[in-house]
């Protein structure tokens, strides 16, 4: 900077009032003594993290990648809906005409619809002593329709169509779920509706549908997945007359409900008093539990 010519003129006293000189004096002050300690002081006071050696960096990156990979590969269990079962009861006899009309209402093939006659017992308090004579059983048609592809809207639509045409005692849509084991990342992607990896095989789906069918209905048929003209999958239920393992495994309680009235009477006659009491007690407990659940709801 050039020295200011006017600076001395402004000074009425004419002494050492030159601004650049004053600044020069300021600028030339030395601080060597404090600089000596600076390096050590910085080292002790700074919070700056020390640099990692590149070898450690690579090792850390590899470990982190491996951990992420392992974490993503851990298998997790996931409930997957593979279809829906429409189950309803109608207070009528099963006829070919009934089945045809139901199939038309639901817009399905006749073979897809499964109908069984069941004994439906009215819920009421019955004294255990008079168990055999005070039963109010009613013969009903149990209608079962299985939709293999998980679409709740379609299932509800079919249920409503059938309910509109027939006076159902009760009708409901039950989801058929299967527990599948997938790696964590696949499960996460599946939740986002991104299908990766292997899906459930046809055999697994059929097996699960059959298990569900036998657990939730009185049907003793076998489900079979077929394709229609448009390539859509549908489930046909073929009645298995030879009897299968599921039927054999059924409890006396379930058999009681499934037998035709005359056969049931014969069956009851052959049972001991204790067996009948036990059976009746179970029925009452079941009814109570159902009533309690309804109240809770």
């Amino acid at each position: 900077m050039k020295p200011l010519k006017s600076s001395k003129k402004l000074n009425p006293l004419g002494e050492n009032m030159n601004l650049p000189d004053a600044f020069n004096q300021l600028k030339n002050t030395k601080h060597d003594s404090s600089f000596e300690n600076l390096g050590e002081w910085l080292g002790q006071n700074t919070s700056k993290p020390k640099k990692m050696k590149s070898l450690y960096k690579i090792a850390a990156s590899l470990t982190l990648t491996a951990l992420i990979f392992i974490a993503c590969s851990i298998p997790v269990q996931q409930e997957e809906e593979i279809g829906y079962m429409i189950k309803g009861y109608i207070e009528t006899e099963i006829t070919v005409d009934l089945r045809t009309q139901l199939a038309d209402a639901a817009a399905v093939k006749l073979t897809q619809l499964n109908a069984n006659t069941v004994l439906h017992e009215e819920e009421q308090e019955i004294e255990i002593v008079d168990q055999a004579e005070n039963n109010f059983t009613q013969s009903m048609a149990e209608i079962v329709l299985i939709l293999p592809d998980a679409d709740i809207n379609l299932a509800n639509e079919k249920k409503n169509s059938m309910a509109a045409k027939f006076d159902f005692h009760s009708i409901e849509v039950l989801p058929i779920e299967e527990t599948v084991e997938r790696p964590f990342y696949e499960a996460a992607l599946h939740n986002l509706d991104i299908k990766v990896g292997k899906e459930l095989s046809e055999e697994q789906v059929v097996e699960r549908i059959n298990t569900f069918l036998h657990e939730n209905s009185s049907s003793n048929g076998r489900a079979k997945i077929s394709l229609d003209e448009q390539g859509n999958r549908f489930v046909e239920i073929a009645v298995d007359l030879s009897g299968d393992n599921h039927q054999v495994k059924r409890t006396v309680e379930r058999l009681y409900n499934e037998l035709v009235p005359n056969h049931a009477k014969e069956m009851r006659d052959n049972m001991t008093k204790e067996e009948l009491m036990e059976l009746k007690q179970k029925e009452i407990d079941k009814a109570k539990a159902k009533k309690a659940q309804l109240k809770e709801n």
């Binding site: 009425p12 006293l13 009032m17 004053a22 600044f23 600076l38 002790q44 700074t46 640099k51």
Partner: protein, 199 residues
Amino acid sequence: MSDSEFTDLLKPHYDDAVNYCRALCSGSSKAEAEDVMQQSLLKAFENFDVLRDKGSFKSWFFQIITRSFYNSVRKPFWSRFVSLNSEEGKVAFQVFEDELFEDNQMLIAALSRISKKERAAILLFEIGGFPIEEITRIQNEKSESTVKSRLSRTRKKLKEFMVMLETENVRMQGFASQRSTNDLYHETSEIIKEIKSIG
């Protein structure tokens, strides 16, 4: 980056930086100036990796000092009294000596009477030796003409303040020499007369 790289780069500019910081903190206590300098040093050291162009180290460091000073002025009143004292077992670091700028009290006093932006501009020019363009960047100004007019205005103000301070100083010295007659009674009566005449 190594610690020595930082100090090596700092060394040629260290005196200027310390003088700049102390003069910038004119009107503040020595402890406050010490805080500003220490904070600037630590901040610069911690962010040294961020500085890509090591050639611009000086202006970068002076900018940190300037910002630290602005922040110290803005910070709450109570926190100005909290300084970065060395903890036990750590190296004591004192930037400013006690008798710093003793011979330049007039300039320091004049600097304390101007605004912080004017002070920073004139000190960056005079002590830092930065060109107008660099000062414009350090002070985050949009045009160089702003800095130019600021410098001109500041010089004028400084001169006026220094003349005023010097005049007052001379008057006080003259006043003191006039009165030193060793006659306490006479001196007291003279002062009373003067006070009455003012009143």
